[in-house]
């Protein structure tokens, strides 16, 4: 920082940052520059985090191989909408939905909490003309991108293993993204209430039963009616049933209800997250 060097600062014409032009109710929280947040995330993913991102793909595959082969040998087939489905083909779509949920929840709670309180990443972004909504949307888009990678990878594996019983299985990829979007849109609003790492435990405490009981590894008909209703109120069950209908080709009218469920969840989640942005970012 010598004087002689300092003068070189003016070697080029200086530009001022363009003023954000967002009007209406989002003014003050949105600058219309979500792209820069996504670019940053992709750059970090490509240069630093790719090993971690890549290895995240293995978890559902491990489950599929282990449960499909091991439990499949003990169980044989499971009935789904009146058709007997091989056990591995029964759990594969469920694992896809679970992995979409896990990725989205992890990215929008744990990761956001960490970047907020330890890496102080959002404080940096919010020292610029970005608004909190740019940051939130950027994170959600990144989470979806990661979800897309995993969904495609998993699709390749299940196709090679012959577990996709119909061409409609390709639609499972967008379906998984819808599931991820639903969870990610809510996750950040929930994170805005968290003060310590222990609060994250409660999130995982909620996800665990959803993971194990939402018709993932066995049909919910094994439970009493009242308990079935509880599970059917949970988002993961809708995700599992929707993706399973697509991969098995046993498409039912209820798929529209599943889509509606997620549409409502996404809208509510985005609204909730937007309402909590100030509490989350502008303390």
């Amino acid at each position: 920082m010598t004087g002689q060097r300092a003068t070189q600062l003016h070697a080029t014409e200086l530009l001022e940052a363009p003023a954000p032009t967002v009007r209406g109710p989002l003014r003050g929280i949105y600058a219309g520059n979500t792209r820069s947040v996504v670019v940053r995330g992709l750059q970090v993913m490509a240069r630093t985090n790719w090993v971690v991102v890549l290895t995240g793909f293995f978890e559902p595959v491990f489950y599929l191989l282990s449960m499909g082969a091991g439990l499949g040998a003990l169980i044989g087939t499971v009935e789904f909408y009146g058709v007997d489905v091989e056990y591995a083909a029964y759990i594969a779509p469920a694992l896809m939905a679970v992995s979409a949920m896990n990725g989205a929840v992890y990215d929008s709670t744990m990761n956001v909490f960490f970047k907020m309180n330890f890496a102080k990443l959002y404080q940096q972004m919010l020292s610029t003309s970005l608004g909190p909504l740019d940051v939130a949307l950027g994170e959600i888009l990144l989470a979806l991108f990661r979800g897309l990678l995993y969904a495609c990878g998993f699709m390749v594996v299940t196709t090679l293993m012959g577990l996709n019983l119909s061409w409609t299985a390709v639609l499972a990829i967008p379906a998984a993204l819808i599931v991820a979007f639903g969870f990610a849109s809510f996750g950040m609003a929930i994170t805005s209430y968290m003060k310590t790492f222990q609060h994250l435990d409660y999130v995982f405490f909620l996800m665990m039963p959803m993971f194990l009981l939402s018709a993932t590894f066995f049909p919910i008909e094994v439970y009493p009616q009242g308990f079935q209703w509880v599970i059917q109120a949970m988002p993961l069950w809708h995700g599992v049933d929707m993706i399973r209908q697509l991969t098995t080709g046993l498409i039912q009218p209820s798929i529209l209800m599943h889509l509606l469920y997620f549409a409502v969840m996404i809208v509510l989640g985005l609204w909730f997250t937007t309402a909590r942005l100030r509490a989350l970012f502008l303390r």
Binding site: M1, L14, V39, S129, L282
Partner: protein
């Protein structure tokens, strides 16, 4: 008089029951270097965050560059350069990418940001560290990078929260020089500090804050004139004896302060005061005459020393 760049009336921030900033008023003129001087926890950083619209105020009025931070955060920050108290660098990016990506957050064009980043790297003397990871930089290097980053959008006003904390004396002087140039070019500087010399060197005007309120306001020299004497005599008698000695000193100079480790005698003529002390038969272990500083102003106003 031109409209102030930043103007606050009754600005208040509460965290639950705790009031961090308690109804402060100030106005910062364009091109001015304005300081917040105060001890730990006074509410300096909180005030800076409210100005930057990254913390929502609880009550009061605040206008920054003609906007209300409550609903114009992005517009305000587009014109601000922010240097936070703790270096917040993107640990997942390399040094050069920290500057480039930061520029993109402002929506600046990529080729411009790339060129500007190189210039700022040179300004921060980090050109050799271009491709290093941020966590490998020393504390001083991180500070310089943070400051350089704050300049990427050619801000109209810089918010500097303890800009030179953690820098060695040489780097501090170079930075002061650089900030001085920015000021000459018309950039408004708002800084917080607890270093008296920094405030005296850089600030045209400052407010002394304590426990969320402003206790005095003025230029450094006027504050010293108003709240202190021209010179100060510092005498030490050993921690056990300062209290007793101060009783004996009472009456010399215009005021006597006892600190745990020394006694301060405020007098316009320090040497004369020293002779007077010796005349009373007191033999201090060490004694020293110095000019009054903002430290003395602070002690006078709050009864506590600034750096505890």
């Amino acid at each position: 008089m031109p409209a102030p760049v930043i103007e606050a009336t009754g600005l208040t921030k509460r965290y639950g029951d705790f009031t961090a900033v308690d109804g402060i008023d100030f106005a910062i003129q364009p091109g001015e270097a304005f300081g917040f001087l105060g001890p730990n926890g006074a509410g300096k950083s909180t005030t800076m965050r409210m100005i930057a619209a990254t913390s929502t105020r609880t009550s009061g009025d605040l206008s920054v560059l003609g906007f209300d931070p409550a609903d114009h955060g992005p517009e305000i920050r587009a014109q601000l350069g922010i240097v936070p108290q703790a270096d917040q660098l993107d640990e997942e990016l390399r040094v050069i990418d920290n500057l480039i990506i930061y520029g993109r957050y402002f929506g600046l064009p990529v080729p411009y940001v790339k060129r500007r980043a190189e210039e700022l790297l040179e300004f921060a003397q980090l050109t050799e560290k271009r491709r290093s990871r941020v966590d490998g930089l020393s504390g001083g290097m991180k500070r310089r990078l943070t400051i350089a980053r704050g300049l990427i959008n050619s801000p109209k006003a810089m918010l500097l929260d303890e800009p030179t904390t953690g820098l060695d004396p040489q780097a501090r002087h170079v930075l002061w020089d650089r900030l001085f140039r920015l000021k000459e070019e018309g950039t408004t500087l708002v800084l917080t500090t607890h270093y008296m010399d920094e405030a005296e060197q850089l600030c045209d005007r400052l407010v002394v804050v304590d426990k969320g309120t402003i206790v005095a306001e003025g230029s450094p020299s006027s504050l010293i004139r108003q709240y202190s004497t021209r010179e100060v005599l510092e005498v030490r008698f050993g921690s056990a004896h300062n209290e007793a000695a101060s009783q004996a000193i009472e009456g010399i100079g215009s005021r006597v302060e006892v600190l745990p480790d020394r006694v301060l005698v405020y007098a316009d003529d320090g040497e004369a005061a020293m002779s007077a002390v010796h005349e009373r038969g007191l033999r201090p272990i060490t004694s020293l005459v110095r000019r009054s500083s903002l430290e003395d102003v602070f002690l006078r106003l709050t009864g506590r020393s600034l750096i505890e």
